[in-house]
Amino acid sequence: MPVNSQPTDDIDAKSPLSLEISGISKSFGRFPALNDVSLQARDKEFLALLGPSGSGKTTLLRVLAGLERPDAGEVRFGGEDFLSLPVRQRRVGMVFQHYALFRHMTVAQNIAFGLKVRKRSERPSKSEVDDRVADLLSLVQLEDLGKRFPAQLSGGQRQRVALARALAIEPRMLLLDEPFGALDAQVRRELRRWLRDLHDRAGVTTVFVTHDQEEALDLADRVAILKGGELIQLGTPNEVYENPADPFVYDFLGAACRLPGTVDGGRLTVADWEAKAPKDAPQGAVEVFFRPDEVSFAPADGAGLAGEVKAVAARGPDVRIECLIEGRLFELEAHGPSVPPGVAPGLSLRIRPMRPKVYAAKSGG
């Protein structure tokens, strides 16, 4: 069930850097990688394609780069038919997951490559190329490493060279395939902010593929969530986090607790807890989702889900509380540093989800 986003009126198809993807399908042999995906990116937007592996996000990126030809659909960039352009004329800056630096060239040669392969009439002079390379090296803070070979660089440095190389051709669109995938957590966080700054300064439209929901929510203007080759939801990080379109998205965007329940009229019932049902809740058998840190605790004679505390552990700023609810063990979280009153191992209490989300139960599930 592809949930194609409606073209929003504030997207101007004529603005030079707006991207419009409509009805893209692509299969490899019998394996469908993309199924009727439509979405838009605004002028100079930072768009994240988020999904688990096999969701088709990288395939979509390669379609945009021109490295894969879709079976059906259309891509317009600044109003221009993008699919009819060969790769080399699209002027997209692509950063590959493993950087794909030219291993037999120095860092400076890597960055200069895109300028040097231009047609003679459009090719900058040697001194112009050198200046540009120097500018880019300082932009990515690698001024002294121009003469090194890629094999002599660290992962983070390689990634920045790959970015500089992609920026050298003054791309209209930046495509990043899991740009932080091969880096360790520390470097990752540092580069994230830096990349966002770079995007803002470069004035390009950026499409960025990741399987890390935290990264997508932190960096992007909008997030497109893909699953099994279909677009499930498109929205700002806040929209998708606050209002996940379906259980998959809810689950994918963060830790989730789920319990079966029923909605009857305006009332939601989960086990012996009854509450006002959320506005758009479906009727009948439902699945109730809540985030493990969005709960409040009440004494055993209060209102909420009946639970029994099994273990309590303070972990840095948070307190983890293992609770048995409806015969299932849940790992709940409270923001510490102190343990909420009335919560201790062996005690019975009531747990009230503060913002439960309700989805129709899958038949047979």
Partner: protein, 284 residues
Amino acid sequence: MTVEARPISRTRLPGFAPLLVLASAIVMAVLVLMPLFVVFGDAFSKGFGKYLASIRDPDAVAAVKLTLLVAAIAVPLNAMFGIAAAWCIAKFEFRGKSALLTLIDLPFSMSPVVSGLVWVLLFGAQGWFGTWLIDHDIKIIFATTGLVLATILVTFPFVARELIPLMQDQGSDEEAAALTLGASGFTTFWKITLPNIRWALLYGVLLCNARAMGEFGAVSVVSGHIRGLTTTLPLHVEVLYNDYDFVGAFAAASLLASLGLITLVLKTTLEWRHAGELAANRRH
């Protein structure tokens, strides 16, 4: 598995190892070094003058020239074919890929005599195209063309086999990157693909060349042994040996052996000088 654990695997050899090393050294000496000494020893057995005369013999000179000519045609063709095949297999997915891989290996598993016989069956006087070729006065069998064809078939896999694993390992990301940066297909091949495989290519060409010059079986079938015309160096050795001209036979053999030694030196130099670079490529 930590990195520090690695040097520990280079422990001292156990007590009986020197014995094994000695044994293999003896075997090598008997099987490899002794024949080499015999070849050069017999070649010079009647003095240096006689050796020089054997080498300067018009038939010997013709054989050397023919050998070089055949290699000069067969090796570049196989290098081109090898690059093309490795490129297809390593960078693209297509139907029948594994069949092509198997086919490339066929000359290795087939007796060279068969590789020669194929051409006789096709182009010989009694072959499929025999009458047509005779009518049009085209000679393939018992001529240089046949020798080249037989050599190409036998040395078919050398370059491709050397390149395929390397190119598969390198993947096609760098080429894709070059394309997105605006390079044409030709520029991408010339500036990215070729430099990345240059040492492996040279290595493959070297092996291919050694085999092309030394090939006996396949060439023997199509040659017809016409002295001074269709005898390559290995065939020349056989002809002289059958004539009881031992000095001549060993003199010619010493030339072949020298070719082999030169190849070995080049190959070792290549491995020694570019081992790091190749290893870095594979780790990348």
